[in-house]
Amino acid sequence: MANLSILIHLDYTLMIVAIGAALLGAVSGSLGTYAVLRRQSLLGDAISHAALPGIAIAFLLTGSKTPLILVLGAALAGWLGTLLILSIVRLTRIKYDSALGIVLSTFFGFGLVLHTLIQRTGNANQAGLDTFLFGQAATILESDVWTIGILGGIAIIIMLVFWKELKLLVFDEGFAASLGFPIRVLDILLTSLLVVAIVLGLQAVGAVLMSAMLVAPAVAARQWTNKLSVMMFLAACFGALAGVSGTIISSSASRIPTGPTIVLCATVVVGFSIAFALNRGLLWDWIRHQRNKQSLKVATDRLLKQPQRGSE
């Protein structure tokens, strides 16, 4: 209760920022669950890096820094990057990891060039665009919270509506296709939802570290449960937790970038979960191992104490 009242008495700006960070932590945590289960953790990294030139182009074209416009540019570029990766894999003999690397670095490099160009023009408006690199949650305004809440909410609702189809796609793609579900469409849908989660987080966490917000909460959540729905709920909670704590820590010290702080908070959750989770945690493994060793020792002792029988 004491903690809660502290939160309420914090100043309005920090409240807004914390709510925004919590929302995007929850959105990226739940959608990241599928990325982790599909072993596409690196795809998130590629998308967030690929989104960068989209932000710059959106700014160059409109001259506006309205979050919605920048997010739209980021989403388009991120989506384009993803489609490019998928078509490279499908149409050429280049392997998935190489395709990821190619698209990630090309788009990111292009994004950096554009950002430098924008800074050179000395446009008074440009200040703040580089927050998209490492994130600055302090720049989150009330309107951004609405953007995150509404777009993230829509993404989560779509995911819940197609829960059964997406689960089947992720678990057994071939079987899903044999039942007549259009797996390519579902794949694009799921990836698009991932793109939404990523671009929403760019402002607060930044392109460089955004993929950690997809992966870390889901990895931590997997340690605690064997049920998909629980895993997703836990991942959302862990994401929100990391978002809020990272924001508060980074705003209390002098201008630490928020992205790294949030990611560090998420890492703490992951570390704790890997070490101490029931059944899947390292500590649990160690205890089980000791127990097995003990019972093996008892059994061999008993065997050795038996009088030797039979002849050589």
């Binding site: 829960w163 057994d172 079987f175 998909l228």
Partner: protein, 246 residues
């Protein structure tokens, strides 16, 4: 048309290629209703690809597949599929009952969730494969044979007329092997058609009544006693297999 409707599966001139490498070349195959057909051939013979092509999962370069005289898209509901056990991640966070209920997803269609009826069908199927004690078990805690029986139960709830199974006997224990054989025979008695990718040449004559010998091309297909000859096997395996006839 009458003639072709009497065939459960009819494959004509089917050719499949990955990049420029042909995996299946000009395959013709007629499967009459209510037979148990084993597809046999060496590694890389295209057995899995043939099953996937029948299911429309790989796009053929040429050729045609008909299920009871109609294309697969129109007959989906009467075709059941058991993929290779190794094709999925068994560490996926879900339990046995949930996987088996996935067999009803096709009949449920979009968005509708499985309910009480699906649960009952799944329980019944699990009983049939001797897995009813494992309903709530995590799939990561199953043995290979148990995983295979879960996949069979999932196919059972599809309630299909034609079943395509990719190596159901691969690495399973004796109990599971018996359970599968019993199930296959039950299918045949009910007039269902089952196509099985099979590896163990020794059991072909015991378990199946039809066989297809495949090595990119179709070497032969037909009733086991006419088709499963040392000569055909030598052609299929390139003389590398010393096959002992009983």
């Amino acid at each position: 048309m009458q003639a072709s409707e009497a065939k459960a599966i009819e494959v004509t001139d089917l050719t499949v290629a990955y990049q420029d490498q042909p995996v299946l070349w000009d395959i013709d195959l007629d499967v009459p209703p209510s037979v148990l057909l084993a597809i046999v051939g060496p590694n890389g013979a295209g057995k899995t690809t043939l099953i996937k092509a029948i299911l429309g999962l790989v796009r053929p370069a040429a050729g045609n597949v008909l299920i009871y005289g109609k294309p697969y898209e129109a007959q989906r509901r009467i075709v059941g599929y058991v993929p290779q056990r190794g094709s999925v991640d068994w560490d996926f966070p879900t339990n046995v009952l949930d996987v088996v209920m996935m067999g009803r997803y096709g009949a449920l269609g979009w968005v509708r969730r499985p309910g009480k009826q699906e649960r009952e069908l799944a329980m019944h199927a699990l009983e049939k494969v001797g897995m009813d004690a494992y309903t709530n078990r995590q799939i990561s805690q199953l043995s290979g044979g148990q995983q295979q029986r879960v996949f069979l139960a999932r196919a059972l709830v599809q309630d299909a007329t034609i079943y395509l199974m990719d190596e159901p006997f691969q690495g399973v224990d004796a109990t599971t092997e018996r359970a599968i054989v019993t199930l296959l025979q039950e299918f045949r008695e009910k007039g269902k058609t089952v196509v099985v990718v099979h590896h163990d040449l020794q059991t072909v004559t015991d378990y199946f009544d039809w066989v297809m010998l495949l090595n990119i091309r179709r070497i032969a297909s037909g009733p086991v006693d006419e088709t499963f000859t040392p000569e055909n096997l030598r052609t299929t395996y390139g003389g590398r297999v010393a096959f002992i006839t009983k």
